[in-house]
Symmetry: C2
Subunit: 377 residues, 2 copies
């Protein structure tokens, strides 16, 4: 079945919206955060733990999965859902971000990108067509087109040039997706990516050009790469003025809980970010009481729950003193507890926003929480 | 309530026994394996996961806990049960093993052991009395006396000298335990430790001397330190001929599944070993089909469950190919899955033996499984 988006409510005072995204692996209540399972697992969180935290859709990275375990293995084992034992929807990026940020020396031409694996040094080639093929092997419910990424500091002319290529590549990706079929019996949507750096006119051009594809959803890329937050919010706003109300909008790689709130207020439906799991690894926690550096001596004898404001097993069962101890002693369990807390907080934030939108009280919720979540606890 | 041991069944053909060990934190069905929570957590396994795997009692290390988080913190937070959110029984060692194997330069006298922390280099002192005090702060249900450990290669005279000190230290520990009270309202038993290296006569002397303490249970120490397995089995056998049938017997730091089976056949009730979690870290799995090196290329495209012979979530949900991928990619989730498999296999082995003893078919079970569990899958 094609991916469909059912708009349930729109905030009368902001652009915030609540909806239902129907996929062959189930329905996603939006707005929603997608935990990132870079290399086939969300760091330290088993699929049942992800479910328990409220995960309805997660993200995989095509670049990482194509390197390890590799497309052939994924194909042989029936795709990523079966491989990682996750029966909900999966969205994959195109690998473009990793090619431009992680890989060794690269050579970009109109045809595609030649680069070296950051693991083996092997020479690899990604084109709009091969990344669709890779995502067919992965079997994600939502695939992304290959785009040309530009640094945050790019000038308008270069942003326009790169975006024009991104739009041409999107056309090729869509043609290739139409010419190929899924391997595993479920539908795979393809989202194009709006680029244009920090230039409102280029962003508008980009979004308008991509409308011709009549895609099942649209992504907004190239943000949260160093620009100031208000600039990001402006770019999202101008983009969403162009994108159709009837399609889901996914803002790639963003951000802090505050970023999520501000972008939901501007009409974004889907998010992903490595921040909750990456910060967990260094002991930086997002909690309903604000930001907590769990390594701080302040928590050494704290019997307080990790986050009494959340319902999750990990947040309620263990004390701050215990999590601090595990983190300092590098006991592996600290990663599970801290990741569950951070991912749990992100998912809680999204659920709270969704309920507020549906009940017509999003502006009040935003006033109460946007600042609180960003303060030091 | 004092710790009591209820003997339920004894195998007519071997020394194997099934019993119930009643503690203030619940009843332990024996024979039983105790997962090791060295520094306040069993590597990568949350308390609810341990429960699910069938854990009824776990082990903590006094040396590690006294260093981190430290006795004061444990005391301030109400003891180890509350600190680690484990409401079942806990047994702690005395720290002797770590002092003799991990700590820096040490100085052993009749009074006790002076040594340097392996973490900070700080000078510390453990005596029969201070390790009881430390275990009072931890609040374990079963405490161990400080013993003097000897290398595997020790001669009979030295084994006898060290054992004589261990027996004197046990007397001091019992006197100190009688003179002090638990902090947290639940009873704390104290087990003396039979030593004597690989000398049957010294082992017998040791056990006989300790009988005078009329302890609630007895430990057998100083084995699995390099001697051949048949020598270990002989030492356990001669020791258990002396120890009373009415008290639980705990064999310290042993061993492989095969070692557990052979020692259960000789009348041991409780075991602990770091092997299941330590081997998990390197990808060495214990399964109902034998030993599996999950990193082996043989499993690269194996859709087989990690262990279809076990019922646990981790053993049944994930494929060998997936666990291999996580292990090679160093994804933190591999530790949870591999530890759950190995600890699960140990606990399964103990449950199987207990059922076989209760149903009078232990010798047949042992013939069927002892070899199988030790073979390469």
């Amino acid at each position: 079945m094609p991916l469909t988006f059912e708009l349930q409510a729109t905030c009368p005072d902001t652009g915030a919206r609540a909806g239902l995204l129907h996929t062959d692996h189930g329905t996603v209540e939006t707005p929603r955060f997608m935990p990132v399972g870079t290399v086939g697992s969300v760091k330290a969180l088993a699929p049942r733990t992800l479910r328990e935290l409220g995960t309805q859709i997660l993200l995989g990275n095509t670049y990482h999965l194509a390197l390890r375990p590799g497309r052939e293995t994924l194909r042989a084992l029936g795709g990523l859902h079966r491989f990682m034992a996750w029966d909900g929807p999966i969205l994959t990026d195109s690998g473009g971000f990793q090619v431009f940020s992680l890989a060794g020396r690269r050579d970009v031409s109109e045809d595609g990108v030649t680069f070296r694996s950051h693991l083996t040094g092997d020479k690899l080639f990604f084109s709009p067509e091969t990344v669709v093929d890779a995502q067919r092997d992965i079997g994600s419910d939502v695939m992304m087109v290959l785009d040309e990424l530009t640094p945050a500091t790019v000038d308008r002319a270069e942003a326009r040039r790169a975006n024009a290529r991104t739009v041409r590549w999107a056309g090729r990706a869509f043609a290739h997706a139409r010419a190929t079929a899924p391997h595993y019996g479920h539908h795979q949507a393809l989202f194009p990516i709006v680029q244009g750096a920090v230039y409102a006119d280029v962003r508008r051009e980009s979004a308008e050009a991509l409308l011709d594809l009549d895609a099942e959803g649209y992504a907004i890329g190239g943000l949260s790469v160093g620009e100031a937050a208000p600039v990001m919010y402006d770019m999202v706003e101008v983009t969403n003025e162009v994108l159709p109300q009837s399609r889901p909008r996914y803002l790639m790689g963003v951000g802090t809980p505050q970023n999520l709130i501000e972008n939901v207020a501007r009409g974004v439906d889907l998010f992903d970010c490595v921040m909750p799991t990456r910060n967990a690894r260094t002991g930086s926690l997002f909690t309903t009481a604000g930001l907590v550096n769990i390594k701080n001596a302040r928590w050494a004898e704290s019997a307080e729950a990790v986050d009494a404001g959340l319902d999750g097993y990990h947040s309620r069962t263990f004390s701050k003193a215990y999590l601090r101890h595990l983190t300092l002693a590098k006991e592996p369990l600290f990663m599970e507890i801290a990741s569950a807390q951070n991912v749990g907080l992100y998912l809680w934030t999204m659920r709270e926003m969704r309920a507020a939108i549906l009940e017509g009280r999003f502006p009040a919720w935003r006033r109460e929480w946007a600042g609180r979540l960003a303060e030091k606890a």
